[in-house]
């Protein structure tokens, strides 16, 4: 008992020391993000070298809880966050509630560093820019060379003009499965709108939201139901696995259990860690008669309007987004393409090295981000929309009828989106 009191007192003393240990003469910025420390470290290091009187502290919060953290802290006028990493689809909601500082005064500089219009759209809302764009994303078709060889299938071409149609891909997947692969094809982020939007857009079914502010749902139209049914059939026919969560799909590919996986470029470093896995990349398929579409959008860095260190915060935000040095460091340990045009060149150099082994990845990435990228709908109701749709996709994947499910989603969305004022 005495020992425990002793420990408690000692720790209390330690606590008081820690509380009082503020840095003198240095500005400290608090940066809230959902990234791992290892990803953020290189850019913080680079920044602190360039601006020795500013220190950046990274507060990492798991992705699923970032929203909760932002809502409870910035919403209540918290000054303890200076910079926040904003997921681009959430920017309209955050911006309309006043959580993000308007950046229109820096528009010229931003447009110069990031010429891609889609990337600019991702950080805008209602005519203004609310975040400095950092990264973007796209999707690739990965295939297991060994499984395809075993089935006698020709490797898909890496040339975007010779892109596979979905029908062609499913045929190959079936063949691979008949030749012994456990599964034919899977999506990396199953049941997620981010991943599946490209299917509906490719078919011409639209993003599922229309009207003023994109707050009117349109998810049970005939093309939507058709694609929904197509998605459900993948699992009904046993071509793709049920019950595997998005966190575990990579494992299927790594363990040689699935022949094709549609996933993002971040998977490359994971797949490369396995010498037994012989894989290559191709552009993602599209629906015949429709157009090729790839998902896009990623994280951007925004400033808390209540922050008391806005100038210092700007310096950091602009370092990691507008300054090619910082932008390149931001993707040093993070396998995503930066949107900064200069930094992209550096990124591309690095990615070129992969070509011999897995195909012209960087060429595909460049092509897709410039030609086929369609962002998620810019609306305040995005999270509500995504939550309802993800559930609907999950139900369809588990065997529910596509029409009934999408009708139900339509009703839910009508009610929930009407709550947004």
């Amino acid at each position: 008992m005495k020992r425990m009191i002793g420990i408690a007192l000692a720790s209390l003393a330690g606590l008081m020391a820690a509380a009082g240990g503020a840095q003198a003469d240095q500005t400290t910025l608090n940066f809230l993000s959902a990234q791992k420390d290892s990803i953020v470290a290189p850019m913080i290091e680079g920044f602190e070298k360039k601006y020795p009187d500013i220190r950046v502290v990274h507060q990492s919060v798991p992705f699923n809880d970032l929203n909760a953290a932002v809502e409870s802290r910035i919403a209540q006028g918290d000054t303890s966050i200076d910079l926040v990493h904003a997921d681009t689809p959430r920017i309209p909601a955050f911006a309309s509630q006043g959580y993000l500082l308007k950046l229109d005064d820096r528009r010229a500089a931003i447009e110069k560093a990031v010429p891609n219009k889609v990337d600019l759209e991702q950080v805008s809302w209602d005519g203004s820019i609310y975040a400095y764009p950092m990264w973007t994303s796209t999707q690739l078709l990965y295939y297991n060379k060994d499984l395809l060889k075993k089935a006698g299938i020709d490797m898909p071409s890496a040339d975007p003009s010779k892109r596979l149609t979905w029908k062609q891909l499913l045929d190959m997947a079936k063949k691979a499965q008949e030749a012994g692969a456990k599964w034919g094809v899977t999506f990396q982020q199953v049941d997620r709108y981010y991943q599946l939007q490209m299917l509906f857009e490719s078919k011409g079914a639209g993003p599922g939201l229309t009207g003023e502010g994109l707050l009117t749902p349109a998810v049970n139209t005939a093309p939507w139901v058709e694609v929904g049914k197509w998605y459900g059939d993948l699992y009904k026919d046993g071509l793709a696995p049920r019950g595997v969560t998005p966190e575990q799909t990579d494992e299927l590919f790594i363990n040689g259990q699935v022949a094709f996986i549609i996933g993002g470029p971040w998977a490359i470093s994971r797949y490369d860690g396995n010498s037994d896995l012989h894989y290559a990349v191709a552009p993602v398929p599209y629906f015949e008669g429709g157009k090729p579409v790839t998902p896009t959008g990623s994280w951007a860095i925004a400033i808390n309007p209540h922050s008391q260190k806005i100038d210092a915060a700007r310096k950091f935000a602009e370092y990691v987004s507008l300054d090619p040095e910082g932008a390149a460091l931001s993707v040093k340990t993070n396998p995503l393409p930066p949107v900064n045009a200069e930094a992209y060149k550096i990124y591309a150099e690095g990615m070129k090295k992969l070509t011999d082994r897995i195909g012209p990845v960087i060429d595909i990435i460049s092509y897709e981000t410039q030609n086929t990228a369609i962002g998620r709908p810019r609306t305040r109701g995005y999270v509500t929309f995504e939550t309802v749709m993800n559930r609907a996709f999950s139900d369809i994947r588990n065997g529910a009828d596509a029409k009934t499910t999408l009708d139900g989603a339509e009703q839910q969305l009508k009610r929930a989106l009407a709550r947004i004022k």
Partner: protein
């Protein structure tokens, strides 16, 4: 009840323990094997499903080098203080509710009960506002406070105190003890097992706490283990090897504590000698 174990009973106990333990065994072997092999052998069942061919300490080492070490220490500290302070105030409250006959006693008791009916996550945001106004963000106090007034622990101890015979209390008065003396010298010593159960409640509450520490203390030096483990699920890659290694640590520590408590427990029961 017959206390001497028959062989059948023994076997049943071991079987029950094994059934509960199996998933934890999977966590343990997953922590100690290369991360990419974790999902390879889940089906069909083979020897490798239960016993890895390749053992490695990479995950454990990778964990220890990071900030996880600090997170475990934070969790231990916060839980320990919660248990100590919590036991004190909850047992005092339970004593008053069970033993002292005062007006509005039942009303106060129901208030205690209502308090643990309220889902913590539903009040986390308003509570956060209150704590922030008290400037308790990123402090140990902020982490500990919500855990010490535990209505469930008060309830448990009150039930137990109700069962201690009035005669003992009356004898205490006769001997000249005041209320506090009766509490300290009669009720508490008899309450070994109940106090340990209450300690368990307080401990589990803090050890499992996730949303609250996330909101009130996100700064790296205050992270607790439950939050730190979520770090290993990145948006794009989930390192199950690290997750399970962290889970191993997060469970071994309570396991050690619980094993020690088991000893205290049996010793307490023996010394308090049951009632009457």
């Amino acid at each position: 009840m017959n206390e001497h174990s028959s062989a059948l009973r023994y076997a049943a106990i071991i079987l029950a323990a094994l059934v509960f333990f199996m998933p934890l065994w999977w966590v343990a072997i997953s922590a100690l094997r290369p991360a990419d092999e974790i999902f390879r052998y889940i089906s069909p069942l083979s020897l490798q499903s239960f016993w890895p061919e390749h053992w490695t300490l990479t995950n454990i080492v990778g964990l220890w080098e990071g900030s996880f070490r600090r997170a475990i220490l934070n969790s231990l500290f916060v839980s320990a203080v919660t248990v100590i302070v919590g036991l004190a105030i909850c047992s005092m409250a339970a004593f008053a509710l069970a033993v002292i006959d005062f007006p509005l006693r039942n009303a106060v008791f129901m208030t205690m009960v209502v308090s643990f009916l309220i889902p913590f996550d539903a009040i986390a945001v308003p509570l956060f506002g209150i704590m922030r106004d008290l400037r308790l963000q990123n402090t140990y106090t902020g982490l500990i406070l919500p855990g010490i007034g535990n209505g469930l622990a008060v309830f448990l101890l009150r039930q137990f105190f109700l069962g201690i015979p009035k005669e003992l209390r009356e004898a205490g008065f006769v001997d000249g003890m005041g209320w506090f003396g009766i509490y300290w010298r009669i009720y508490l010593p008899l309450s070994g097992p109940a106090m340990i159960s209450a300690a368990l409640i307080l401990f589990v509450f803090q050890w499992q706490a996730y949303l609250w520490p996330l909101l009130i203390a996100p700064a790296p030096q205050f992270k607790v283990a439950a939050v730190a483990i979520a770090q290993f699920s990145g948006q794009y890659d989930v390192n199950f090897g690290l997750i399970f290694a962290a889970a191993l640590f997060i469970s071994v520590i309570p396991m050690v504590i619980l094993t020690i408590l088991q000893r205290f427990y049996s010793a307490s029961v023996a010394s308090s000698g049951g009632k009457e």
